[in-house]
Symmetry: C2
DNA sequence: CGTTGGCAACCAACCAGTTGGTTGTCAATC
DNA sequence: GATTGACAACCAACTGGTTGGTTGCCAACG
């Protein structure tokens, strides 16, 4: 293998291993040794490639964010209900990403996240799409609030699986994700197609 | 001060300090030394009273849970919109609790939480109240899903303040919590008073 | 042969949890 | 009202394992 390829390879291995580790344990709980071992790569390579633990975390989150924004777009279809369902599906099949974002949110608290401008533009596009989907009659500020709520609704059951279990009842939780999905679509449509939005 | 009172006092001091520390840094990020220092109590007292770090965390979360369930009840008013608003208000004024629960959720993942039965009964009561508030025509399974969604909606903006800032736009986020609250009430009423719920 | 990637061993700081000795408080007994 | 025993808390040093980060040497590539 050429040197350049080898480099690229170990970077990829490290990023993947780091993603698992960070998703599972968070920044403080993650162990650099474990990441290196999981990647089958020497620990020192982490520092050569990424600087330190936190910068590695940022790289991981950056990657994850790109992936999410590519996978779940709003422009394709005009139905907000279906949009919520797709976010829900995404988080259900790849719970790692959501955990990653939560660790990040908790860690950085109110202080600005790395790469905010980029993310900001990303949401602006979604706001525009949603505004159109709503028929263009809802003021932008309210469209933004609706978008925020939709994203939260879709993510919530995955964020707190334990609470989901408790609220939904022991039996249904694991098996009945399909009903939950349908509920979200229904709930969203009801909320959004109602007569008055101010 | 009597001995019994002194004990109670240091316990309370420790729990309060621990709550701050855990809310801020999570289980892995929290430092036992810092908790002791913050409480103005010797570190060794933590081990005498609570056993170890994680058990202390559980005590803290237990307290927080009691507090939340006492503060935000569903039985008082029949309007689900107002219920959501009250959850929202609670988390806005006391963000510590939500952070605590998130750290807990992330830490324990899918495995059962300490004290699940107790919490379960708590939610059962809320389900009953909500069912009544909805006119008693919605099947219980769907009521449970609605409850889950309502709680999530109310918590979400506080969970990810950074995302809220990005989605809502830099300017509005901090100042316009009132509009957000009204949006939640409106959104909930629209969703819930719609004709069909299956 | 210089540059670049890889590695094992290393290190100093950190951190949860412990120990042993000391001071102060309460309550019962004499 | 002095003595005694049982707690509760304080303090400071210590332990043993962990952890993020570093160094010096070797191998492969170009």
């Amino acid at each position: 293998m050429r040197n350049a390829d080898r480099t690229e390879n170990t970077r990829a291995l490290l990023l993947r291993a780091a993603r698992h580790e960070f998703a599972e344990h968070g920044i403080a709980g993650a162990r650099v040794d474990r990441i290196a071992e999981r990647a089958g790569v020497n620990k020192q390579r982490i520092y050569a490639h990424f600087g330190d633990k936190e910068q590695l975390f940022r790289h991981v989150v950056g990657h994850a964010l790109d992936e999410l924004s590519q996978a779940v777009t709003l422009t394709d279809d005009a139905d907000p209900g279906e949009y919520v369902a797709r976010i829900f599906d995404y988080h259900r099949t790849r719970p790692d990403l959501l955990r990653l974002f939560l660790w990040e949110a908790l860690h950085y608290g109110d202080s600005p996240l790395p790469g905010e401008e980029e993310r900001s533009r990303l949401y602006d596009a979604k706001v525009a799409s949603l505004s159109e989907a709503l028929g263009g009659r809802v003021p932008e500020a309210e469209v933004r609030r609706i978008l925020l709520t939709l994203i939260g609704m879709a993510a919530w059951p995955q964020i707190t699986p334990q609470m989901a279990r408790l609220v939904l009842g022991e039996s249904a939780a694991g098996t009945d994700q399909e009903s939950l999905r349908e509920h979200l679509v229904r709930f969203t449509r009801n909320a959004v197609t109602a007569p008055e939005h101010i």
